[in-house]
Symmetry: C3
Subunit: 434 residues, 3 copies
C-alpha cells in the first residue's frame, strides 16, 4: 500500500469543528439541566455560553490568578489575561498588591506589554501617559488647562491575598463571603509560608477544550488509575471512592491509605496543624474545599518515589512527611501545599474550546536550583499529569461537539464534578434571574 494513506495513528483531520455557531438559548439549557448528569454540548461549544461564563462567572467571582512570590519586590508586575480583560498585578512601594486594568485612559492602548517585568512608573508606550503603581495619572502631555488628571487614573480591580495567593474580582461588588473563607482557610495554609517562597518554575499549557471540561476533569479521580501513572505513584487512586465502592483491585492501595492517614493525623496533631476537611462546594459564591491528606510512597511530596523534591523544606518544617494540603476553589483553581514545595493551578478561558492552564511551583526562598532541587524532578509529576489531562479534555471537547452527544450520569466517584456543575448552574441562574 502506498504512503499517501494517512498514518494510522493520526486522526483524519483536525478540521472537525469543536465549537458551534448555531444559535443557543442559554436560559433554556440552564433551566433543563439534569442533576447528576453531564451538561449538554452547547455549554462547552457555543460562543453564547463562553460570553456568559466570562460575565456571570469570571467577572463576578473571586478568581485566583497568581501568587505573591511572582511579584516579590516593589515595581514587579505580571499581566493576566482573563477573557477580553487584561489586568496588571503590581507590587506597590508599601509592599501591597495592586490590581489595575491594563488599558490606558487616553485612547485605550495596553499600558504594560510584557507578561512580567519590573517598572518604576507605568508609562504607556503610545503617548507617554504616566501612572503610579496605584493607578494615579502622574503625567499626560499637551492637555488643555481644564484637563483633570484626577479623573484619568488606571481603573482598579479588587484584589485580595490569602496565605500568599492572589485573588482578583473584576466586579465592582465582589462577593463578600471571601472574608469568611479566608478566615477558615488561612490556618491550613499558614504553616507553609507561601509568601516566603520563590517561583521555581511556571508552565503555561493551552488545553484544547472548554474551561469547564478542564475543571470537571480536575474534580474527579475516576480517570486517575488508568490515566495518570506518574500521579498515582503518590496520589491514592481511591480518591473520591466511597468505602463500599472501592474495587477489589484497589483494596491494597486503600490499606496503605489508611495507614498513611493515621500517620499524617498524628504528625499534624503534634504540630497543631489543622487537617480535617471543610467542603462547601456549592450554595455560596466563594465555594471551596480544603483538607490535608496523606500521600502514597514515601509520603513526602509529588515525586515518583514520594520523596521530597526540594531538600530545603518550607518554613521551619522539621519533617517532610506532612502529606498534601489540598485546596480548591470554584470555579477555576486548585492547590497542593507540600512540606517542600507549593504548586498552584489556575484555568483561564481563552475561547469556547481553549483554556490556559498555568501551573506554578514554589520552593523555599533560599533553596538553590541544582543543589537543593532539580526543576525537572520538581515539575515532573504535574507536567505529565497536566499533559495527560489536556489530552482527555481535547477528546471530550471533540466528543461533546457532536450533535449526537447525550449527557451521561456521573459515577459516585464524580460527586465533586457534580458539585462544581451545580455551583456553576446556581451562579448562572442567579445571573440570569430577572
Amino acid at each position: 500500500m502506498t504512503t499517501v494513506l494517512p498514518p494510522a495513528s493520526q486522526p483524519v483531520t483536525t478540521d472537525h469543528p469543536v465549537t458551534t455557531d448555531q444559535p443557543v438559548d442559554p436560559a433554556a439549557l440552564v433551566a433543563r439541566r439534569r442533576p447528576g448528569y453531564a451538561l449538554e454540548g452547547p455549554f462547552y461549544t457555543s460562543r453564547e455560553f463562553f460570553d456568559l461564563d466570562i460575565d456571570a462567572i469570571f467577572a463576578k467571582h473571586w478568581i485566583f490568578v497568581a501568587t505573591e512570590p511572582e511579584i516579590p519586590e516593589p515595581g514587579d508586575f505580571i499581566t493576566v489575561e482573563l477573557g477580553r480583560y487584561s489586568v496588571i498585578l503590581i507590587r506597590d512601594d508599601d509592599g501591597g498588591v495592586q490590581a489595575l486594568h491594563n488599558v490606558c485612559r487616553h485612547r485605550g492602548s495596553r499600558v504594560l506589554l510584557d507578561a512580567k517585568g519590573s517598572v518604576g512608573n507605568l508609562v504607556c508606550s503610545y503617548h507617554q501617559w504616566t501612572y503610579a503603581a496605584d493607578g494615579r495619572l502622574l503625567h499626560a502631555g499637551d492637555q488643555p488647562p481644564t484637563f483633570d488628571k484626577g479623573c484619568f487614573g488606571l481603573k482598579k480591580v479588587a484584589a485580595r491575598t490569602l496565605g500568599g495567593l492572589i485573588f482578583i474580582c473584576l466586579s465592582p461588588a465582589p462577593p463578600p463571603d471571601f472574608d469568611d473563607v479566608a478566615e477558615r482557610v488561612a490556618p491550613y495554609l499558614a504553616p507553609h509560608r507561601l509568601a516566603e517562597t520563590k517561583v521555581a518554575a511556571q508552565v503555561d499549557l493551552v488545553e484544547e477544550g472548554n474551561w469547564k471540561l478542564v475543571m470537571e476533569n480536575n474534580r474527579e479521580c475516576y480517570h486517575c488509575e488508568a490515566g495518570h501513572p506518574e500521579l498515582t505513584c503518590t496520589f491514592f487512586p481511591t480518591y473520591g471512592y466511597a468505602l463500599e465502592e472501592i474495587p477489589p483491585r484497589l483494596m491494597p492501595a486503600h490499606a496503605r491509605y489508611l495507614a498513611a492517614e493515621a500517620h499524617l493525623e498524628r504528625a499534624c496533631t503534634e504540630r497543631g496543624m489543622p487537617f480535617a476537611p471543610i467542603e462547601e462546594l456549592q450554595g455560596r459564591s466563594t465555594a471551596f474545599r480544603v483538607q490535608r491528606e496523606a500521600l502514597d510512597g514515601a509520603g513526602e511530596s509529588y515525586t515518583r518515589d514520594g520523596r521530597a523534591a526540594s531538600r530545603k523544606l518550607l518554613a521551619d518544617f522539621d519533617t517532610p512527611r506532612l502529606g498534601r494540603l489540598s485546596l480548591h476553589f470554584q470555579p477555576n483553581s486548585w492547590f497542593h501545599f507540600l512540606a517542600d514545595h507549593v504548586v498552584t493551578f489556575t484555568a483561564l478561558p481563552l475561547a469556547p474550546d481553549r483554556t490556559l492552564v498555568r501551573t506554578t511551583w514554589h520552593v523555599h526562598r533560599d533553596a538553590v536550583e541544582g543543589v537543593d532541587y532539580d526543576p525537572d524532578i520538581l515539575t515532573d509529576v504535574w507536567r505529565m499529569t497536566n499533559e495527560q489531562d489536556g489530552a482527555f479534555v481535547g477528546r471530550t471537547q471533540a466528543g461533546v461537539s457532536s450533535p449526537a452527544f447525550e449527557p451521561g450520569p456521573y459515577s459516585t466517584n464524580e460527586y465533586q464534578v457534580d458539585a462544581l456543575v451545580s455551583w456553576y448552574i446556581e451562579r448562572l441562574e442567579e445571573h440570569l434571574a430577572p
Copy 2:
C-alpha cells in the same frame, strides 16, 4: 525595483474573507433560486447555509463514506467526520458493518481517537467504559446498582452496503428509496467484486471551497478540455455535450468516442454486463446516475496512455478493455469502476469554505505493489485532476464571496450541475416546509 514587492505570481493576500458573517435568510434565498443559473453567493459563504446543509442534506440522506475493503477484518475500524458528527465504522465478528456515534455515553469523550485501526472492544480512554463492536456497553466502573448498562450503548447510525460501498444515514428515518436504487445499481457494480479488492492508496485533499462548489465542479466537463490534460488522455472531453453542440475542434475526439462506444457495447453484451445509462438526478431522495462508458486511448483504464494500471485484473475479467462504469450519487460521491481498479470519491464538508475530498484506489486483493501495479501510476491521473479541480474550486469560492457576484447561466454542457442544484433546492424546500 527592489525585492520588497510581492512576487507577481502570488495573490496580494490570503486574508481576503471568503465567508460572510452577515445575516442570511436561507428560506428567502431558496425561494428565489433561478433555475438554469448558479446559486447566489451566501449558499457558499454563509454559516447559515453550512449548518442547514449539514442538517437538511448530510444528516438526512444516505452518504457514501467508505468501502468495505477499508475494514476487511473483524475489529477493523475507521472514524469518519461529518460536520460536527464523528462516526465509527467497524467490522463486527459476524462480518457485518456497524456504524456508531463516536461519543462516549458517560461524559462525551471521543471513544476511538485514530482515523483507522483495529480493536477488540471499544474502550473509551477517559474512564474505561467498554463497548462491543455492535455498541453494547459491556463495562462501566464504579456505578450504583441502579445503573442499567442496557441504556448506555453507543448510539447507532444507519449503515448500508451496495456492491462494497458503505453508505450511512445519520437520520433515525433514512430515505427508504435506497432499496430501489441498490437493486438497480447492483448489477452494474457486481462484476467488479469491490469487496474482494484491497485499498492500494488513499488521498485526503482539503479543497478551499464549499462542498457544493466541489460537487458542481465534478458534475460537468465544460472545464475538462482546458483544465485537465491528464484526465482527457482517456476521458473524452465531449462528455456532456449534445451532439449538435460539440465544437468542431472536438469532432475527431467524438469520432473516436463513437468507435470506442461501439466496441464497448459489444464487449458488455458478450459478457452480460449492463451498460445503459440510468439517470435519476432529481425528484427523489437517493438520486443517482450510472452508466458504463468508453475510454479514449487504449481504453482500459485511467492512465495517460489508457492502459491498465494493475496487471491483476479485478474479479475474473478476461479483458481490461471494459471502459469505465461511472456512478454518482447526490449529494457528495462519485465512482469509477474499471477492469483493473476501482476509484471512489467522497466530499465531506468541513466549513463553509473548506471541504475534504477523499479518494481511494482499490486493486485486486492479490495484486502485489511494485509487481502488478505502481501506486504512482495508479493514482497519477486522479491526483492531478483533483488538484486541478481544487484550484478551480478555490478560485470560485473567492469569486462568489464578492458582493458583486451575480449568478450566471449554465451552459447546456452543465445540465448535471443544474440537476444537482435542483435536487439540493428540492431537499431544502422539503426541510424548510412548515
Copy 3:
C-alpha cells in the same frame, strides 16, 4: 529558576481575543458618540462595525487604491482586495484605467488570480470565458443561440485618476464632489508628474488592528517624538501643536521649523507652486487636507539626514529642497510628494482586527536602481515608521477590546483624529438614516 517560564519580554499569550462576538447595536453607539473623545470599543472590535464600515464607508466613497505607474502599459493590471470585493485595475489600449469586478459572469470564479501582471484579454481559467480590458464578454463556449454576450460583461467599478493617483468607488452613485476636490488638489500635485515615475518599491504590512486605529494613528504626531526616531529626523515633531502648546523642549525644533518654512515659501513662490493648506476634513463626502510643508535636516526628503534619496529629481525640478507636499483623504489614504520621490499609503480593512497598509515608493522613470537611488535608503524611514505604527495599533487593538476600556479625551494635538472620527460618524449617520 527553570527555563519553562515564559520569557519576560513576551506577552503571556497571543490568544487574548481582540474582537468581540457579542451583539452590538451600531446605531446606538453612533448616536451616543462623545465629540472630542475616542470611540467606544465595539467600533474597533465587532463584526457588526466591520461590515458597516465596508458598506457605509469603503463601498460608498472614493478610495485610493493604486497609482498609474503601477500599471504603465496596456494590459498591465493589478488586483485589489477591498473587504470581500476583488477589483481589477487594468490599463486599456487607449491608455485609460479600467476598474472591473474580478468575478466571472458565469459561475463566479476569480478571473485574474495574480496580484499583478500583464494580459491580452482577460480569460477566466475555469471555462475560458474571455473578456476585453473594458470588461466586454468576447467569448463563452457552448452557449445556446439565445445567449446574449452583451449581458455578461465584467461589472464595472467607477474609477478616477488625480495627478497619477487612482481612486475607485464601488457604489453605482459615487460622491459627486470628487470633481471639486480634484480641481483644487491637482495644482499641488502637478509639478511632481507622478504619472511619469516608476514604482521603486512596495511594501504590504498587515497591522493587527482595526483600520480606524491605523488611520487615527496616522492623523496625529502626538506619538512621534517618542515613537518615531527615524521620522523625526526630518518630520518636525511639533506637527499638530498650537503655538502656545509647544512644550519648551521642542522650541528649538520649532525655531528650525519657522526658518525652513520661510525658505520653502520663497522657493515655492519663485516656482509658482501652491503651498498654502486646504483643510476640509469633515462635512463633505470627499474630505481631504493638502499643504506643502518644510522638512527638517537638509530639508530635501524623508531620509535620516534629510538629503534626497534619488539623485534623479522628479519632473524638471531644479532643486531638491521643496519640502513635502502632504495630502490625505478620508477615510484611508495619505501621500507625501517630495522633489525626488513620491510615497503613497493606503489602509485596506481585512478583518475587524487586521488591516493591510500598502506603501509604494515612486522615483523618476529614468532613475537607475543602485546608481541614482538605493531602495533601502529610499524606503528606510517609512518602513521603520510603519512598523512602529503597526506596534502602536496592535497594542491599542488589544487595549480597546477590554470591557474596561472607556474612551479618553483627545489632546489638542489630536484635532485631526477628532476630524477623522467626526467625518466617519457623519457618514454612518447618513448611512443609517431612515
